[in-house]
């Protein structure tokens, strides 16, 4: 990879800064660890099983499709493992094994590899896998139903379902601090807000994701939720509630800034993030799904190629 012979006359670049796909994947996984460990701590071995199974299946599918298409084996770059990890973070701890297997198959094979592998996918693979599962087996993602047997010392009510069915009267027991510390039911790695924020900060500081997308996503959620709340505070929850529940934080820091399905220029990034945020709250408040992050980001992935047409003028171009 790196040419270590010292005395060779060549063109620039002369030095490689060491960044690679595997570095990106492993650092993203490290950033996701606090939230995942919290989930495993809360839900016990069952959650650990789902996480391990998801990562293993993702790598397995990647290896299989590499062999079938006779391309170089790409499981070493860690992207498949990352897809598996992020996918497990969205799932409830009680997911059966076949759900994990199907989801990771869709994510890795249909989401990524049939579009030519890493870097070619127009949609976020994790979200495609998850969206198809939601459309096909909606019952397994009704968090009130599937997590009913857990007693973790706080109300096992999925906050977004509560606000959807009961209005703000149903969510009075949730405090913002409690939501941040993971005292809510939900996916394995998506409830511990503080951990996700720390992970996101780490990724932004290291330059692996762009702050524009995450920030504009959160701003979109905040402003839209605030407008709904001001309009009718009995029916629609306040902005902080929407920021720290469901998949908002994992979406802002891990799903929306996915490399190949998000824009590259400044203004398109703002449009992309804010659009996803606005759509998220629209789906939560007036749509038919309880949480809107998954479909909102997928919809913005679709608009991404058009957004990217807004680009700076080429140097020296007249008119």
């Amino acid at each position: 990879m790196l040419n270590h012979n010292k005395l060779i006359v060549s063109h620039a670049p002369f030095w490689h800064n060491g960044s690679s796909i595997s570095t990106r994947s492993y650092h993203t996984m490290i950033a996701a660890l606090p939230a995942v460990l919290m989930g495993i701590f809360q839900y016990g071995p069952r959650a650990l099983g789902v996480v391990s199974l998801s990562i293993s299946f993702a790598i397995l599918w990647e290896l299989a499709i590499n062999k079938i298409t006779r391309r170089t084996v790409s499981i070493g770059d860690g992207n498949a493992a990352l897809i598996g990890l992020l996918f497990a973070m969205l799932l409830p701890a009680t997911s059966p094994w076949w759900l994990v297997a199907t989801g990771t198959f869709v994510a890795v094979v249909i989401g990524k590899h049939i579009y030519g592998g890493i870097g070619g996918n127009p949609f976020n693979p994790v979200l495609i896998g998850f969206a198809i599962l939601i459309a096909a087996w909606r019952d397994f993602f009704d968090f009130n139903e599937v997590l009913v047997n857990y007693d973790l010392g706080f109300a096992m009510v999925y906050p977004l379902a509560a606000v959807k069915h009961l209005g703000t009267a149903g969510i009075e027991s949730f405090s913002t601090a409690g939501l941040l510390l993971g005292q809510q039911s939900g996916g394995i790695g998506s409830t511990f807000g503080l951990g996700l924020i720390f992970g996101g900060m780490y990724l932004i500081a290291r330059g692996f994701i762009r702050w524009e997308i995450s920030l504009s996503f959160l701003a979109g959620v905040f402003i839209t939720a605030l407008l709904f709340n001001l309009n009718n505070s009995n029916l629609y929850a306040g902005p902080f509630f929407h920021l720290f529940t469901g998949y908002t934080l994992i979406g802002a820091f891990f799903l929306a800034p996915e490399d190949s399905s998000s824009p590259v220029n400044f203004i398109p990034m703002l449009i992309y993030g804010a659009g996803a945020g606005v759509m998220t709250v629209l789906i939560r408040n007036i749509g038919s799904y309880v949480d809107g992050v998954v479909f909102a980001i997928l919809l913005m992935n679709l608009i991404n190629p058009l957004c990217d047409k807004i680009r700076p003028k080429a140097l020296g171009k007249v008119g």
Binding site: A135, I283, G287, I303, P305
Partner: protein, 190 residues
């Protein structure tokens, strides 16, 4: 139902391509390049809005009074075909490049299920004249929107290393399915 609801419903929630699956032939055929997609979208907007209005007038003032409702399909196709012929002559004279780009898909608007389906849906829902106009516009804009979004995605896919058996139309069909899945976002909004 207010006009705003009809408009949003027609464009997003009941998108004629991605929620009702009508008119998939030009959707796959003309979406490889952005220019042809935009041209096709414009042609469909023109034909669909005019066809929706004219078929409503024809139905209300001719077919129903003379008890010829059973002739609906043939009469509507006739209206759509003559409109398409009009568009075709116009494009051939004034924008020959677009005419060549659209190729066979221009005359095929005649049998475009989206146009005919929208006309039939308007009649079956028993909408009045103004609502028919708004509904037809909404369906047409929804068609154009879906086509242009799809063309944007497809222009990127052409640059990617898609495995050989999946190239071109196959990957287009898979992507169309995913597009339809993303439009689940609008489910239940009205």
């Amino acid at each position: 139902m207010g006009y705003m609801e009809i408009l949003i419903g027609g464009i997003f929630v009941n998108n004629i391509l991605l929620a009702q699956f009508l008119g998939n032939c030009p959707f796959l055929g003309t979406s490889k390049k952005m220019e042809t997609a935009v041209g096709m979208a414009m042609a469909v907007v023109f034909v669909l809005v005019l066809a929706g209005v004219i078929t409503w007038v024809l139905y209300a003032f001719f077919l129903v009074p003379y008890k010829l409702v059973y002739m609906r399909t043939i009469a509507f196709i006739l209206v759509i075909a003559s409109l398409v012929q009009f568009v075709e002559m116009f494009l051939k004279k004034s924008i020959p490049a677009l005419y060549a780009g659209l190729g066979i898909f221009l005359p095929l608007i005649t049998t475009n299920c989206a146009v005919f389906g929208a006309c039939i849906l308007n009649i079956d829902k028993e909408l009045n004249f103004m609502k028919t106009l708004v509904q037809s516009t909404a369906y047409a804009v929804g068609f154009g929107l879906a086509l242009i979004l799809f063309a944007g995605v497809r222009e990127r896919i052409i640059l990617a290393r898609v495995p050989k058996p999946l190239q071109d139309t196959s990957i287009g069909l898979v992507t169309a399915g995913i597009l339809s899945l993303t439009f689940y976002a609008f489910k239940g909004m009205i």
